[in-house]
């Protein structure tokens, strides 16, 4: 198993931020200055990160860049652990000039602070099915 590198993880994070940003921005175009839209955006962002990471180990951004979050037993981390990683952990990682995010650069298991707190590691996963895999799954006419 190969730990995922910094560039790939940063790319996945930016892609997720773009998806969330576009979705919430679109909602705010529909109903400007509405409490409900702000609350919906906050709820949507929390559920996006906690459920995708918890149940699958991958957000859409991570799927595209081919990285995956694993819990201590090698499977998806589960919603509780994902909440600890995405909400509590990332809060602390960002607290000191994002030092917690940079920590993976010199950490032997490539863990950020939010990974250490939640007991997760981030590994390389196959990004998109290779040509061979895709053709094998194509219907035979």
């Amino acid at each position: 198993m190969e730990y995922a590198g910094f560039g790939r993880r940063l790319g996945a994070a930016l892609l997720d931020a773009l998806i969330i940003g576009m979705a919430t921005g679109f909602l705010q175009l529909l109903a400007p200055d509405s409490s409900a839209v702000y609350a919906l955006g906050t709820l949507g962002s929390v559920l996006y990160y906690v459920l995708f990471v918890g149940l699958r180990g991958q957000t859409p951004g991570k799927m595209a860049l081919g990285v995956k979050v694993l819990g201590p037993d090698g499977g998806p981390p589960g919603a509780v652990r994902a909440f600890v990683r995405e909400v509590i952990g990332k809060f602390f990682s960002a607290l000191v000039l994002c030092l917690g995010y940079l920590w993976m650069l010199w950490d032997p298991k490539r863990q950020c602070w939010h990974d250490k707190l939640a007991g997760t590691v981030v590994v390389r996963a196959e990004a998109v099915p290779s040509g061979q895999d895709a053709s094998a799954r194509a219907p035979v006419l």
Binding site: D33, S35, Y38, A39, T42, A79, V80, R81, F83, V84
Partner: protein, 147 residues
């Protein structure tokens, strides 16, 4: 490594959870302030909007706390605080309590336990059950922390 279930450990988990649920609740309740941005302070319309926002914020604050404690406890037996401290809530059959039992423990049970100045919580000082555990027939056990 397994730990002993002590009152201090349970209290630490609870304080972590209250901090998390509080931050989460504040970020939702804060959304109630949005309509105030376009009103002029001091006007009657502003005062009425503040009153509505305050009522909504208190309601949202309570709902977020209930959802946080009941959903995590019901479906997995562990809130984030309990995960970090190596504790879990189990039903009489040893599994996760499920949503109904979790609502009984986290909402009805905690109201009951906190009413007489928190006496129902301090009931667990000797390492036994609190009133919310007794009401929902749940136990707090120690689990492998796997960090």
């Amino acid at each position: 490594m397994r730990v002993r279930v002590t009152f201090g450990r349970r209290l630490a988990a609870y304080l972590i959870d209250r901090a998390c649920a509080g931050l989460l609740a504040a970020s939702f309740a804060g959304c109630c302030l949005v309509p105030l941005a376009n009103l002029e302070a001091g006007t009657a319309a502003f005062d009425a909007a503040v009153e509505r926002a305050a009522v909504a914020a208190v309601g949202i604050w309570g709902l977020v706390h209930m959802a946080y404690f009941s959903l995590f406890t019901g479906f997995s037996g562990q809130t984030p605080g309990k995960l970090l401290l190596g504790l879990a809530v189990v039903a009489p059959d040893g599994g996760p309590p499920g949503l109904a039992r979790a609502l009984l423990r986290e909402v009805a049970g905690r109201i009951l336990a906190s009413l007489p100045l928190g006496l129902g919580y301090f009931w667990a000082l000797g390492g036994g059950a609190g009133w919310h555990d007794m009401l929902a027939k749940t136990h707090v056990v120690s689990v492998e922390r796997k960090m």
